[in-house]
């Protein structure tokens, strides 16, 4: 439960060392660069846009090359490959890569040009195929389509619209005999003809044909269509072979895949490094690197820097006005929930890191909403398997996610046992359907069945909600105390705490609630009396003080009254925890319904088979939907009801200068895990 103390560190180094120092800092990933020195005659900044754009171009090229490789030579991926995380590589490999750099760039460029070649060849094939289609009506013609003229004759090759018979055409041309007409092919839309006439009558024939919408074919070739088609087909074949060859060439480059991945990461890092260089102020010989660093890292980095470089290091406490970034630090139990807190907002000035306290409630609330020992066991099993099998390679974010569900699963088992739910009532249904058991339930709940006593469950949910809310108020008291806001502590926190707790006692002592709870609950009359007095005193205090920023006493009183009306907000907050009952019942009853449906066909010969299918499918669906619901609503209860009492957030993320790589992570020395 803590935020790491941040310090401002300034490193003064020789300009010739700056790249190597930055590389070291980048690998460590512990420093957020934040320069405060203004540019002037001595200090200036460097323009790095040109260098950066070169690196960025390589990153894009490598990315495109990898996409091409994945298309033509896909890697086999197992279902769990996402759990493997980035590959770890040593700093020696990193330095050695500069030797392979140019070759890798060349391979990436080649891959892209191959891919372009393939695209062009494919376009060519489509063009050739279109030509074949156009040729099809002319297949019976045994002379080239562009044949037109001999010494004494003129020929017309083309199509006239609509279907024509030979007689009809000859009839049209009867004034210009002799003329030879041949129908090559005909369809409803057009008739393809070959017409031959002496050159003397050619104009007349042409005019008649024009009147019949004569058009010359779109293809013009100097070979007969049959031969032409063979030619085209050969060219398509050639293009296809060329494509295959190019694909083979691409596949043969697949062995450089890792180099290209490395190239992408390498230039991504270099681009980031140059971005930082552009932010640094430097003189002709000296460069200043300034930024925020967690206090615990200072010694280590000072040692490393002093070992290899000539540097001067200055550490100071950030001033009050500075917007210092926030980095949370929690133990293994609460750490998985840091991203849930960050999803709301990081702690602002004067606020504590709420992760640990939130975690206690978070896991419990999730457990109550899902509340099934069977589902919990499944969750724990799957998460534990992934975490153990991939513990060395898994990425931190995924690890946190799985660990969170591991703890949620444990809580789910606990509450499942309390409420007697094991895959709904699967054991009971199986026993009574197949083994004729009559003594049910097989495993009685440790506490009670929520389905049988919904009112008890409702009361339990609300009491839990009240505790959750009051914990939030206590944290608010602590924060106000730390900020030395003693007035606000008394008026805004303690008075409310007293009012809410005493009102809760009064509510429980009401006859109506008593009758709902059953005879077990009773509040001694003395306690009721004390609670009444405290409630009245607290109300008066709130009425008089909560409008204290107004000078006008009348306005002040009205504002106080309005603040007191805020107690309805607490009422609705507490009621909001009834979702624990509703979601708990929903997941339990749907589980029971699935079991009941599975048992319906169980008496038939194939009954056990159907039973197993329905049970597996149904419970898989139920666990998916209800785990999602539990997660969403637990988060909501934490964000809205709990954080609403004390937590504003507004802290800034700590964005260290680090390796934002996609495929590799580089370890300085393999044993140093962070």
């Amino acid at each position: 439960m803590a935020m790491l103390q941040m310090q401002r560190i300034s490193i003064y180094a020789l300009k010739k060392d700056r790249k190597r120092i930055l590389e070291l800092l980048q690998r460590r990933g512990i420093l957020e660069i934040n320069d405060i020195i203004q540019e002037d005659n001595v200090f200036h900044k460097m323009d790095v846009t040109k260098a950066r754009s070169g690196f960025e171009k390589h990153v894009v090229t490598a990315n495109e090359a990898l996409e091409i490789l994945n298309r033509y030579a896909p890697l086999k991926k197992s279902m769990f490959s996402a759990l493997n995380g980035r590959k770890v590589t040593s700093i020696e490999d990193y330095s050695a890569f500069s030797g392979k750099y140019d070759d890798s760039v060349q391979v990436a460029v080649d891959l892209i040009s191959y891919s372009k070649e393939i695209a062009e060849l494919k376009a060519e094939i489509i063009r050739l195929e279109a030509q074949i289609v156009m040729l099809t009506p002319w297949m019976k013609l045994d002379i080239p389509i562009n044949f037109s003229i001999t010494e004494h004759t003129k020929s017309f090759i083309g199509a006239i619209s609509k279907e024509w018979s030979l007689e009809a055409i000859l009839d049209k041309l009867k004034d210009f005999l002799p003329v030879e007409v041949e129908i090559i092919s005909s369809s409803k839309e057009q008739t393809c003809i070959f017409a031959l006439c002496p050159t003397t009558t050619a104009d007349g024939v042409y005019n008649i044909l024009r009147s019949m919408d004569f058009t010359t074919p779109g293809v013009s070739m100097d070979k007969a269509p049959v031969e032409q088609k063979v030619d085209l087909e050969n060219r398509i074949l050639e293009a296809k072979t060329a494509i295959n060859k190019t694909v083979e060439a691409i596949v043969s480059l697949a062995k450089y895949r890792e180099d290209i991945m490395f190239l992408q990461d390498y230039d991504r890092m270099r681009s980031d490094k140059y971005e930082v260089i552009g932010q640094l102020t430097q003189t002709n010989n000296i460069v200043v690197i300034s930024g925020y660093i967690p206090e615990r890292e200072i010694q280590e980095i000072e040692k490393s820097l002093n070992k290899d470089f000539l540097v001067a290091i200055e550490v100071e406490k950030p001033s009050e006005e500075e917007d210092v970034p926030v980095l949370l630090k929690n133990n293994g139990f609460a750490q998985p929930l840091e991203w849930v807190v960050a999803g709301f907002s990081l702690p602002g000035k004067g606020e504590i890191d709420p992760t640990m306290i939130m975690a206690l409630f978070y896991y419990m609330l999730f457990g109550i909403m899902l509340a099934d020992a069977g589902y919990g066991t499944l969750m724990v099993g799957v998460c534990a398997f992934c975490l153990i099998k991939y513990k060395h390679t898994i990425e931190l974010s995924l690890k946190n996610f799985l660990t969170m569900f591991l703890f949620c699963g444990i809580a789910t088992i606990f509450w499942g046992v309390m409420f007697g739910s094991y895959f709904g009532d699967l054991f009971d249904v199986t026993a009574s359907t197949f083994f004729g058991a009559t003594q049910l339930p097989i495993i009685p709940p440790l506490w009670f069945f929520p389905v049988d006593k919904p009112m008890l469950m409702l009361a339990f949910s609300m009491v839990l909600g009240l505790i959750h809310l009051m914990t939030g108020l206590v944290i608010k008291m602590y924060q106000l105390y730390k900020q030395k806001e003693y007035k606000a502590l008394l008026y805004d926190a303690i008075s409310w705490f007293a009012l809410i707790v005493s009102s809760a006692i009064l509510v429980v002592s009401l006859d109506m609630i008593k009758s709902m709870m059953g005879p077990g609950v009773s509040i001694p009359p003395a306690l009721t009396k004390v609670a009444t007095i405290i409630a009245i005193l607290a109300s008066i205090m709130i009425l008089l003080t909560n409008g204290r920023e107004s000078r006008n006493p009348f306005k002040r009183f009205l504002k106080g009254a309005y603040a007191l009306y805020g107690i309805t907000g607490y009422l609705s907050d507490v009621l909001s925890y009834s979702r624990l009952l509703a979601l708990g019942l929903a997941s339990g009853i749907i589980g029971n319904v699935i079991n009941k449906m599975a048992a319906m066909p169980a008496k038939s010969p194939l009954g056990p088979f159907f039973f197993i299918i329905i049970v597996i499918g149904g419970h898989a669906l139920n666990i998916a939907i209800n785990a999602l619901g539990s997660y969403v609503h637990t988060t909501r209860l934490s964000y809205v009801e709990f954080f609403g009492k004390f937590y504003g957030g507004g802290g800034r993320f700590f964005h260290p200068f680090q390796m934002k790589t996609k495929y590799y992570k580089i370890k300085e020395n393999m044993k140093n895990e962070n």
């Binding site: 999803g343 009853i589 999602l628 969403v632």
Partner: protein, 162 residues
């Protein structure tokens, strides 16, 4: 036909309405969110998992409605057992189912609209996914309250002797 024969009719009508209205609302809502989600996944397929969560959020009302219908069936003995009841009791069951039916329908659609808007957050600021989930979840509160009231009412009606 005796007038009390109508009791079971009204009880089944209530159960059917709970499943029907809430289910129809959820179907409409999940469909609405799915349309927006499909658009977002076209742009960025890697967001599929998160889009799916947002799409599913308005789907719970249908499940709640189904739940209420099923509990009612069990209590009135439609799924085996005797189903004799007075007209008054049947009408009480009918009334008990109404919150889930009506609130289920309208909250599913309202929640879907919040989900669709949250997908905008997901597309422009994917790092704020935690917040984007809360907006639709706010709407769901009222479906849960309706579920609770319907459930308590059905339980209560089953115990009344009229």
């Amino acid at each position: 036909m005796k007038i009390d024969d109508l009791g079971i009719f009204f009880a089944v009508l209530g159960a059917a309405l709970a499943a029907l209205c809430a289910g129809a609302g959820s179907a409409k809502g999940v469909g609405l969110a799915g349309e927006a989600g499909a658009g977002l996944v076209t742009e960025d397929p890697s967001k599929f998992g998160k889009v799916l969560i947002l799409q599913l959020l308005p789907g719970t009302q249908g499940i709640y409605g189904f739940l209420i219908a099923f509990i009612t069936f069990i209590k009135i003995g439609v799924l085996g057992g005797s189903s004799d009841m007075t007209l008054a009791k049947g009408l009480l069951y009918f009334a008990a189912c109404l919150p889930m039916a009506i609130v289920g329908y309208s909250s599913a659609i309202a929640q879907a609209r919040a989900s669709v808007a949250s997908m905008g957050i997901l597309s422009k600021r994917p790092e704020e996914f935690g917040k984007s989930m809360i907006f639709p979840a706010m709407v769901e509160t009222y479906a849960i309250l309706a579920l609770l009231i319907s459930m308590l009412a059905i339980n209560g009606v089953a115990g009344i002797n009229i």
